[in-house]
């Protein structure tokens, strides 16, 4: 091939309306997804400026950030004091402007990034933006997707375009085969530990390698979801047969001859042989163990059988101070074993790890067991379709029999918007951020896979699944 290109280059160049100079391009945006927190700010700003959506068929709004997860929830129920007005504002604007609106009680409802793949809103080679840093989740189906601010979202509403600085390219090659009981979450946490929470600044990241090729769309979504945690705003997996099989028949996927035309186009998108990346990282997955974070940045992560590191081993003085601050906040001391550390809360939810395969992995461990008394165990499915599918398989019964609460779908307890349930407690959580205060006042969060969270819920302490 004369001019081999990466997947990223093909998709980027496909969307350039105009070069703006200095490496910035005005890009066509195929899909804008908005939620009731930041999305409602964009919608209101647009209305106040007396503007209207430029291409409403390409805009989707979903109620998911502030809406309550309580079973039997009402249309504006929220633990956030401003939740009701933001939910209602988004609802009214969506109806007034005729946007594709997915309300709290729509059977398709769920966390935006889960919904966007389930419905085929995201597709290979698309540009998709949303006011949420985990938007790259939908890179799992080969979309170029990234998080934006409310002002940028207002701009996309008004123009269906957005100017962006072209990033550099990075490829992560996840090679080898995962051991039993090791998941995509463990891969991405270990990668962040290796390259650091700022390891991807300025890069668009392609996840590749045999361990990714053999992975389902749901596992790929977990990888792409956390690219922002190493500061790569864009994370994606180039489309293959797994992608096309997944998307075929989804509500917004093309049908009939249009599907064939699209599929042909999508098959030409993967990175060409010989294409150059600005950076490549090889990662061998064959000896990977389950990962659990110990600190207040996702880069502060360990093998589950590891011991809390001494800050003195960090590479520079700021990292040492950061590690000490993290230990103080997390109430841990160097040398302590991570496994066996008592937890107060076990949480399964979020755009990272609350799809059907995640719930199945947790249920397999919970079946026939009870959550240790005194532990708050909560499951918030990633979407209403995930919840229904889990219920059809009887997973909800397994969760409830074990002592888990079984909630409606939303962003839930991933971020603290008003419910102080987790204040001063230690959680083990399938979410994506262990920042100070992320899940509540003085809440200490340990990130892990659904299997590890389920095993820890039973044991009442951090525990590797499948070990007695």
């Amino acid at each position: 091939m004369s001019n081999p290109q990466t997947f990223f280059e093909k998709v980027w160049l496909d969307h350039v309306i105009k070069q703006m100079g200095g490496g910035t391009a005005l890009l066509q945006i195929d899909r804008l997804v908005l939620h009731e927190l930041s999305g409602s700010q964009a919608v209101r700003a647009l209305a106040q400026a007396n503007r209207k959506p430029f291409s409403r068929g390409q805009v989707f709004t979903v109620i998911e950030h502030l809406i309550s997860t309580r079973p039997g929830r009402g249309p504006t129920d929220s633990v956030s004091v401003s939740g009701p007005s933001m939910i209602e504002g988004t609802r009214l604007a969506s109806k007034k402007w005729g946007l594709n609106f997915i309300d709290y009680n729509d059977p398709r409802q769920g966390i935006a990034h889960v919904v966007a793949t389930e419905l085929g809103i995201a597709f290979p080679g698309s540009t998709l933006v949303c006011c949420d840093s985990h938007t790259s989740t939908v890179g799992a189906v080969g979309a170029l997707a990234w998080g934006i601010g409310a002002s940028e979202a207002e701009h996309v509403l008004a123009t269906q375009a957005l100017a962006q600085m072209r990033p550099k390219t990075m490829r992560i090659n996840f090679n080898g085969q995962l051991s039993q009981g090791v998941y995509a979450k463990d891969m991405i946490l270990a990668l962040i530990g290796k390259i650091g929470a700022n390891g991807g600044i300025g890069y668009a990241t392609e996840f590749a390698g045999s361990a990714v090729r053999s992975m389902s769309i749901e596992g790929r979504a977990t990888l792409c979801n956390m690219s922002i945690e190493f500061q790569s705003k864009y994370g994606f997996v180039a489309p293959d047969d797994v992608t096309l099989d997944y998307l075929h028949g989804r509500e917004f996927s093309p049908t009939g001859a249009a599907w064939d035309q699209a599929a042909n186009y999508w098959r030409a998108l993967p990175t060409d042989e010989g294409a150059q990346f600005d950076r490549e990282v090889d990662f061998d997955c064959s000896n990977l163990k389950p990962q659990v974070t110990w600190g207040t940045s996702p880069e502060q992560v360990l093998n589950i059988d590891g011991r809390i590191p001494d800050p003195s081993i960090q590479k520079d003085s700021e990292s040492r101070l950061e590690a000490q601050r993290a230990l103080d906040y997390m109430q841990l001391t160097p040398g302590m074993a991570l496994e066996g550390l008592p937890v107060d809360v076990a949480y399964i939810g979020s755009c990272t790890n609350a799809r059907l395969s995640d719930l199945r992995a947790a249920a397999e461990i919970l079946k026939g067991h009870k959550v240790k008394p005194g532990i708050q165990a909560i499951c918030v499915p990633g979407s209403t379709p995930v919840k229904r599918a889990a219920e059809a398989e009887g997973l909800d019964t397994i969760f409830k029999d074990a002592g888990f609460e079984w909630h409606e779908s939303a962003c839930g307890f991933c971020g603290h918007i008003g419910d102080n349930r987790f204040a001063n407690l230690r959680t083990i959580s399938t979410t994506n951020r262990n920042f100070k205060g992320r899940q509540g006042p003085q809440t200490r969060t340990h990130l892990a896979s659904p299997a590890t969270v389920a095993a820890s819920a039973i044991a009442g302490c951090i525990k590797q699944a499948g070990r007695s």
């Binding site: 496909d14 309306i17 200095g22 910035t24 005005l26 066509q28 927190l37 930041s38 409602s40 209101r44 400026a49 503007r51 409403r56 068929g57 502030l66 956030s80 004091v81 401003s82 007005s85 504002g89 005729g98 946007l99 594709n100 609106f101 698309s126 006011c131 949420d132 840093s133 990234w146 998080g147 934006i148 601010g149 002002s151 940028e152 207002e154 701009h155 008004a158 123009t159 269906q160 375009a161 100017a163 700022n198 600044i201 500061q231 093309p254 249009a258 035309q261 699209a262 186009y265 700021e318 950061e322 971020g415 603290h416 918007i417 008003g418 951020r433 920042f435 100070k436 205060g437 006042p441």
Partner: protein, 212 residues
């Protein structure tokens, strides 16, 4: 966009790495339909004690840093959530520039839309600025000049910096970004027509019929 040429004033060093937007403004304070009211919650969990009283140990509660217009920080500042209310809260507090070795990418873009210039400098240069701040008990004035792309101290240090040129020009001119893009409407329409024949599946007709 609000016009921005240069700012001069007190600089507050918060020399930590990975200061995420959850620290800059916790999610609890993101709600509300008002365009303003976020400055009071800037660094809420650091600036205030559990009982709501100001934390005397936090630098932005200490004179002269209560008047800070520049923030100095270590790498990966503004990582995490895309919340635009992080730079909004900084701006309401009075901050107009933040100098760090690197920034969270979404935060970086959000800054320009809220009258804040994110300046990337090598950590060695930032340490020199911090030293000058400490030597003057915080009283030294730092200038961030977007026109000349320079960070400078009176009669001493001066460092060049780079920001994306399109965003720089937008701030210097104060042009409205949406108006500017709409001035390319013809190019947008031409692009969309050609793209639609190439990738028809990317263009969804509205699914909702609006009353005439």
């Amino acid at each position: 966009m609000e016009q921005y040429i240069s700012v001069t004033g007190i600089a507050a060093p918060i020399m930590q790495i990975n200061i995420d937007t959850d620290q800059i403004i916790p999610a609890l304070y993101l709600g509300g339909t008002d365009a303003k009211g976020y400055g009071a919650h800037l660094f809420a969990n650091w600036r205030f004690l559990a009982d709501g009283a100001p934390n005397p140990d936090f630098i932005l509660n200490q004179s002269p840093y209560t008047q800070a217009v520049v923030l100095l920080a270590d790498r990966n500042f503004g990582c995490g959530s895309s919340r635009e209310r992080a730079p909004k809260a900084m701006r309401e507090f009075g901050l107009r520039a933040v100098i760090a070795p690197s920034f969270g990418d979404i935060f970086f873009n959000n800054c320009f839309r809220n009258g804040i210039v994110p300046v990337a400098l090598p950590i060695e240069h930032i340490r020199q600025l911090v030293q000058a701040v400490e030597d003057s008990a915080g009283k030294i004035n730092i200038t961030v000049d977007l026109q000349t792309k320079k960070v400078s101290l009176p009669d001493s240090l001066s460092f060049n910096f780079e920001v994306p040129e399109t965003l720089r020009i937008m701030l210097l001119s104060g042009v409205d970004e949406i108006d500017q893009t709409l001035s390319y409407q013809n190019e947008i329409e031409v692009f969309r027509a050609a793209d639609k024949s190439r990738r028809p599946w990317a263009y969804l007709a509205p699914t909702v019929t609006l009353p005439a």
